[in-house]
């Protein structure tokens, strides 16, 4: 939009202005609501909490918020692509680049990750009989770091400098020479800060699962969601360690005059290697927890023990292991040579084997079971065929020679949406409906849930099935338009209609949540006739669960206790619980890193120095006032 003023043309980014207006209006409504209903104490309580359920809830809440934003991005993309030679609003050229960059980055880092981490936070401790995560304080730090990173990344759009080099940030496009704007600095710092949170979370999860299980809950008796969370956490450690260094190097390239990824000596391919050594394990980080959720959901609603439990565990581990040996299949067209391409093609194809094992085990779990088609189960049932289709195109893509044809086309877009939406997002929905009672104490409405499912899945296939064909017809990804003569208009229009159908299905989820909280009744401990320990505690889960502590003697202990009409044995001889506290330090700590990042992005280094000093002060405060002090004093006085 251009406005003539004083004989000059001022161009105003109308998309950014609308976003400001929308945000201010919504913010005003929210503030009025909070004031009227006197919700400040609850907000204050959640800001200081270290309880795993509450932090999980925060992760999920903000995950959904960012889902809306990234979802709107995708609708804008589809509107622009609805007809050939389209000139929708401002989304051509660079604005379109910003659109797919923020859509991709947000969906991966600020939607899928926090939603999964939120579900892990809520469910895993309860499933293994832990009374909280091993380090409750660190858990709060992880969450606030994620939020600080996400807010940083989102802010860039409001200043009309959204990152525009794609979620992969490929060099040399992402270096200072080609994108001198601060947009990609926001990308670097947003991901760096939230990535730090992810690393801390992974450490926390591993220690919790390895050391905080209930007596008798051997690793071989653990439900599959904790299993997949454990292996996912190991992947996070390695993947996010590498990402953080990749971003560190990119930061030096953009701000301090180095040239690792561009110029005569630098190597753009090195960035690709680093990024995909992170990026490929990342997609398994996204999908393995979803596999775990489906395993638990399918077992519960088939009233059967999971089929082939050891094979399930081994295949998760194998997928995780192989996941580190396939990264260069994103780079077949780079020209690494026939040996490298063959190696990475074969390892990629190998991953289909453990994945296939899992698919068959789910089918065999359902076979002969007493199946109840509730909403979570429906999502699990929808997942199996959808994910298989994504897997099949995955094997097609792994054929290095054929990959030259598919590369960077909409065929690839179709493939990864089939795996990430068909796997991760359906898994997140299944988990959300399944554990909703443990989070809030209420069961989401089944009828609305089914509406949500059918609209979402039909919309999904309408959107992405045609992309296989447009991709094979040669439609490149990340390009904002196409011609009538390309003959792909109807397919693209179908995709756009499908995308809006998916978008509208989310309204049913919103309505469902509203309705459930307005009219829903509180449910008991065990609304689904569950099998694992989380259904033995109150809904919503209490701050101090498992008093007394159950003793586990088999897989699905709660189920067999119910079948044999006995109580689960309990014991008073338990390890000490993690020490929970109420503290504002995590929020302040994340805020201080936020301040440092802002200073760095705009090269106002004095702001970074202030932020850094603040970080150090907080670390000192934390070091000198540790929550264990009171605990140790108490113990001391007994001696």
């Amino acid at each position: 939009m251009s406005i003539p003023f004083l004989n000059q043309l001022f161009s105003l980014p109308s998309d950014v202005i609308s976003a400001w207006i929308l945000t201010i209006i919504m913010g005003a409504f929210l503030t009025i609501y909070v004031f009227k209903k006197k919700k400040w104490p609850i907000i204050w309580q959640f800001m200081r909490t270290t309880n795993h359920r509450k932090i999980g809830t925060l992760y999920i809440l903000f995950g959904i918020l960012f889902f809306l934003r990234a979802g709107i991005d995708s609708l804008l993309i589809r509107t622009q692509l609805a007809v050939p030679n389209n000139d929708f609003w401002v989304f051509q050229g660079d604005k379109y680049n910003e659109l797919f960059t923020t859509h991709g980055t947000m969906m991966i880092f600020f939607v899928a990750m926090p939603l999964l981490i939120g579900l892990m936070n809520v469910a895993v401790p309860l499933q293994i009989g832990a009374r909280d995560l091993a380090f409750p304080f660190l858990n709060a730090v992880s969450f606030w770091l994620f939020l600080a990173g996400a807010i940083l990344f989102n802010m860039s759009f409001f200043f009309n400098t959204a990152p525009n080099a794609g979620w992969t940030g490929y060099a040399p496009l992402s270096t200072e020479v080609f994108t001198p704007d601060v947009g990609n600095d926001y990308y670097v710092f947003g991901l760096q800060v939230s990535g730090l949170g992810t690393i801390f979370f992974a450490i926390n999860m591993i220690v919790t699962i390895i050391r905080n299980r209930a007596p008798g809950m051997k690793l071989t008796r653990m439900p599959l969601f904790p299993w997949s969370s454990l292996i996912t956490s190991f992947l996070m450690l390695i993947a996010f360690g590498v990402l953080s260094i990749a971003l560190y190097l990119l930061m030096f390239d953009r701000m301090f005059g180095t040239a690792f990824f561009s110029g005569n000596e630098g190597s753009p391919v090195y960035w690709q290697h680093l990024f995909w050594i992170f990026g490929h394990p990342e997609v398994y980080i996204l999908v393995l927890p979803a596999f775990g959720i489906f395993s638990d959901v399918i077992s519960t609603f088939s009233k059967k023990r999971i089929f082939g439990y050891p094979a399930m565990v081994v295949s998760i581990a194998l997928i995780g292991f192989l996941g580190f040996m396939v990264w260069a299949h994103h780079m077949f067209t780079v020209g690494l040579g026939p040996m490298a391409n063959t190696f990475f093609a074969i390892t990629t194809m190998l991953i289909a084997v453990p994945t296939g094992i899992k698919i068959f085990n789910w089918l065999f779990t359902i076979r002969g079971g007493v199946v109840r088609v509730t909403t979570p189960m429906l999502f699990a049932l929808g997942f199996i065929p959808t994910f298989v289709m994504g897997g099949v195109t995955g094997v097609m893509l792994s054929v290095a020679a054929a990959n030259f044809q598919y590369h960077d086309s909409h065929f690839v877009v179709a493939h990864f949406h089939y795996t990430i939406i068909g796997g991760t997002i359906l898994g997140i929905f299944a988990g959300l409906y399944y554990w909703y009672p443990k989070i809030t104490g209420k069961v989401l409405d089944d009828k609305l849930g089914k509406w949500h499912f059918w609209l979402f899945v039909i919309g999904f296939h309408l959107t992405f099935l045609p992309m296989h064909i447009t991709g094979l017809e040669g439609m490149p990804r990340r390009v904002f338009t196409y011609q009538w003569s390309d003959g792909i208009f109807l397919l693209n229009l179908t995709s756009t209609i499908g995308a809006f159908l998916m978008g509208s299905s989310m309204l049913f989820l919103g309505w469902n949540i509203y309705k459930t909280h307005k009219y829903g009744l509180n449910t008991g401990n065990d609304p689904w006739n569950g099998r694992t320990l989380e259904w033995t505690v109150r809904s919503p889960s209490p701050e101090h669960p498992f008093e007394p502590m159950p003793v586990v003697r088999e897989i699905d202990p709660y189920w067999y206790a119910k079948v044999n009409k006995r109580r689960i044995r309990t014991t008073a001889n338990v390890r000490p619980a993690p020490i929970s506290v109420n503290t504002i330090l995590p929020v302040l700590f994340a805020f201080s890193l936020f301040v440092i990042s802002i200073g760095m992005i705009y090269t106002w280094y004095w702001i970074s120095v202030i932020g850094g000093t603040f970080t150090f002060l907080l670390l000192i405060v934390r070091f000198l006032n540790d929550e264990r002090k009171a605990y140790y004093r108490e113990e001391h006085s007994h001696e």
């Binding site: 690792f260 000596e265 090195y270 540790d626």
Partner: protein, 190 residues
């Protein structure tokens, strides 16, 4: 430390080991970067930049600081204040000496025109050795806080834990330095 405290401490210990594992992944990536880009196709060669004296001297300081830290660790068992305070104090001093040598080295290189953006060998040298130096600096602040804690008479069990966790960190930083000497300096000094 009683049994319950020992369990909570083992949680921390395990968590911190995992953290050091992540750190080693990060340093490994930086070592890879250095090995890929060194020597560079243009600009100064490592052999003209590095000086054996400063490397040997700073190695002596940092490696012996691991030894003096072990004295402090030995003192923990029987609550020997002298060993603890002297051990930590000397380690702190050696760390400071190392750090000032590092800063001096960087400063001298920059004076001679070998700054970070000159070529990719220097870039990857600075991001790696600089990150290590930042770790030493963090460790020095940590030791100062430990000494403050010790004089403030916090429960002794808690102090033991804090010092033990710090010791893991410091030894780790030392091991990274050994790798830096072997992979970064040695091939171009011998």
């Amino acid at each position: 430390m009683n049994e319950q405290q020992a369990v909570l401490f083992k949680d921390r210990q395990f968590g911190f080991y995992i953290y050091l594992f992540v750190e080693s992944i990060m340093f490994a990536t930086l070592f890879a970067t250095y090995l890929i880009f060194t020597p560079s196709s243009g600009g100064p060669e490592p052999s003209e930049v590095f000086e054996a004296n400063s490397v040997i001297l700073s190695s002596i300081f940092l490696l012996s600081s691991s030894g003096t830290l072990i004295i402090a660790e030995k003192g923990l068992k029987h609550h020997q204040t002298a060993k603890i305070v002297v051990g930590i104090g000397v380690t702190l001093l050696l760390g400071l000496l190392f750090l000032s040598l590092e800063i001096h080295e960087f400063y001298k290189y920059a004076e001679e025109g070998y700054s970070i953006g000159v070529n990719n060998f220097l870039s990857s040298f600075y991001v790696l050795v600089g990150l290590h130096a930042a770790h030493v600096m963090f460790g020095i602040c940590w030791m100062i806080l430990l000494l403050i804690q010790y004089t403030r008479k916090i429960p002794y069990g808690l102090y033991t834990e804090k010092q033990s966790i710090f010791a893991y960190y410091w030894h780790f930083v030392d091991v990274i330095w050994v790798f830096i000497v072997i992979l970064v300096y040695l091939p171009y000094l011998v």
